[in-house]
């Protein structure tokens, strides 16, 4: 718990109430108890009391504690956001019940003058390079690879099909961080683009001009910071056999191709659409980045304590999301169980704190600005959700009502609205 957000209450429950709670609990156990030598319900209270003393105490605590805790916090006028931690519990039959409860509350955030904060808006301009890169990607995704049948020399842009074998000849034998070469360096029917940017220049050079069926021998020295730790800092002698040539055929950027890509008539139409999409994407990203910057600026200018409870909840949310992503990538269950959860939690912490700060600020500002979410807005959000989750609208609504999740959806919309408001007001 964050000490700055922690409050505590002391509660005393009158002895009479404690006694009656005890009587009630004993009565309940009398009815239930089955003890050999006694007919059901005929066990004397003294025996019940000694047999079930622990359970009875617990029952009494469970009955009295939440009820009196609630009235105590109501009297104190605070709103806990965490489960109370009860200390110094004193409970004896015939005596008043006393306990102390500690819990976290939302801190008061004083945002006086926050309207004056100005944050520079992130610019969202689509550069020509970005557009070209995207066009290339589209083209690449539609291109086909076909084997070249004529026996010619390899030129740049060809995909060389090779089988290779490597042997370490120099460099440190023992790579850093205890990485050893256990597996032989070899590959069969690997495709390499000659002169491509993912191909080592040494390979491109050696392959350029060779013909299928030819065998090559050459040596490659890998830089110490090479991406693959197995190979970094080593010299390796390769024996390579060129098996064949393939050539990538990229479609022409003409109207024909545009029609293939969807319901576009001309290439220009497709380009315009793509540009539009990318620009919209960009500005969305910029807007999100700006909103984050606004919240960061506010958090810096108006520091406030962050309740540990919320941070922990957020850490769990993030962890859950991360695990789901891993599962979606196909990580097997047992491997997941072996993850170091303590470390993962720690790694999520900083970001979780930031996120909690952000939502707390948004909630506070929503309060100040009296941002409300109308039923129509809620309906619209539900419609979007129903499309996203492919759940019929009515079923989704019923489920959310049953799970008591509508207030959370509402809260989420309110935060988004507040974020947009901040963007409009404080962005410059």
């Amino acid at each position: 718990m964050n000490p700055e957000c922690t409050r505590s209450v002391e509660v005393e429950v009158p002895a009479a109430e404690v006694s009656s709670a005890f009587r009630g609990a004993i009565k309940k156990y009398t009815r239930q108890a089955r003890i050999p030598g006694f007919r059901a319900g005929k066990v004397p209270p003294t025996l019940i009391r000694s047999r079930f003393s622990e359970q009875i105490r617990q029952e009494v605590v469970e009955q009295l504690l939440p009820q009196h805790f609630r009235s105590a916090i109501e009297a104190a006028g605070t709103q806990p956001i965490s489960q109370p931690q009860v200390t110094e519990l004193h409970l004896d039959e015939g005596e008043p019940l006393r306990f102390k409860a500690q819990f976290e509350v939302l801190p008061a955030i004083d945002l006086t003058g926050y309207e004056e904060v100005r944050v520079e808006r992130e610019r969202a301009e689509l550069t020509e390079e970005e557009f070209e890169a995207e066009m290339d990607r589209v083209r690449d995704s539609r291109s086909t690879v076909e084997p070249v049948t004529e026996a010619r020399e390899l030129v740049d842009g060809d995909l060389a099909q090779i089988t290779f074998q490597g042997e370490v000849t120099g460099g440190e034998q023992e790579a850093g961080a205890g990485v050893r070469i256990d597996e032989p360096i070899a590959g069969q029917d690997v495709s390499l683009e000659v002169g491509g940017k993912n191909t080592l220049p040494a390979f491109s050079e050696a392959l350029r001009g060779s013909r299928p069926g030819q065998e090559l021998r050459f040596e490659v020295s890998y830089p110490a910071d090479f991406g693959e730790p197995r190979l970094a800092g080593k010299s390796i002698a390769y024996q390579v056999e060129v098996k064949g040539i393939k050539r990538k055929h990229s479609p022409e950027l003409n109207d024909e191709f545009a029609k293939e890509l969807g319901s576009y008539e001309t290439m220009d139409e497709f380009k315009a659409k793509l540009r539009e999409h990318m620009t919209a994407d960009k500005s969305r990203q910029a807007e999100a980045a700006t909103k984050d910057k606004v919240l960061e600026a506010l958090a810096e200018r108006y520091p406030f304590p962050v309740p540990e409870t919320l941070v922990q909840q957020q850490v769990e949310v993030r962890l859950d999301r991360g695990l789901r992503a891993l599962a979606a990538q196909g990580m097997p269950q047992e491997q997941m169980r072996n993850l170091d959860f303590e470390r993962l939690r720690l790694a999520q912490r900083d970001q979780a704190v930031g996120e909690v700060q952000g939502t707390m600020l948004l909630d506070r500002i929503a309060e100040l600005e009296k941002v409300e979410v109308s039923d129509a807005e809620l309906d619209r959000e539900l419609e979007i959700l129903s499309v996203q989750t492919r759940e019929p609208l009515q079923a989704l609504r019923d489920r959310l009502i049953k799970e008591d999740a509508l207030p959370r959806v509402r809260e989420q919309i309110r935060r988004e609205k507040t974020g947009s408001l901040l963007y409009e007001r404080l962005g410059a």
Partner: protein, 97 residues
């Protein structure tokens, strides 16, 4: 040689046992089958530090118990009603057996 604790095996905590305790100032025990009334009296006086007025005993024969085709008997046992002298404070059984 019977000791105090082999003589008194355990208190009989049942509806009847507790009823006679309240109504007739009588403690009820399961005792060793070989124990005599005198031994029971001495054992109760020593263990509970009370004066015993009278001891009545009853022998129970073990019930037949079957397990499939095998049959056998639960052990025989003896019950002792131990009436305390008038004015003695009733001790509590220790109920953690």
């Amino acid at each position: 040689m019977p000791t105090l604790h082999t003589t008194l095996r355990r208190p009989v905590i049942t509806e009847k046992g507790l009823q006679v305790k309240e109504a007739e100032a009588t403690l009820v025990f399961e005792v060793a089958t070989r124990a005599t009334k005198t031994e029971v009296k001495q054992a109760v006086e020593a263990l509970f530090r009370v004066k015993v007025a009278a001891v009545r005993t009853a022998n129970y024969l073990g019930k037949e118990r079957r397990r499939g085709k095998f049959s056998g008997y639960k052990p025989d046992w003896k019950k002792a009603y131990v009436r305390l002298q008038a004015g003695e404070k009733m001790p509590e059984y220790v109920d953690t057996l």
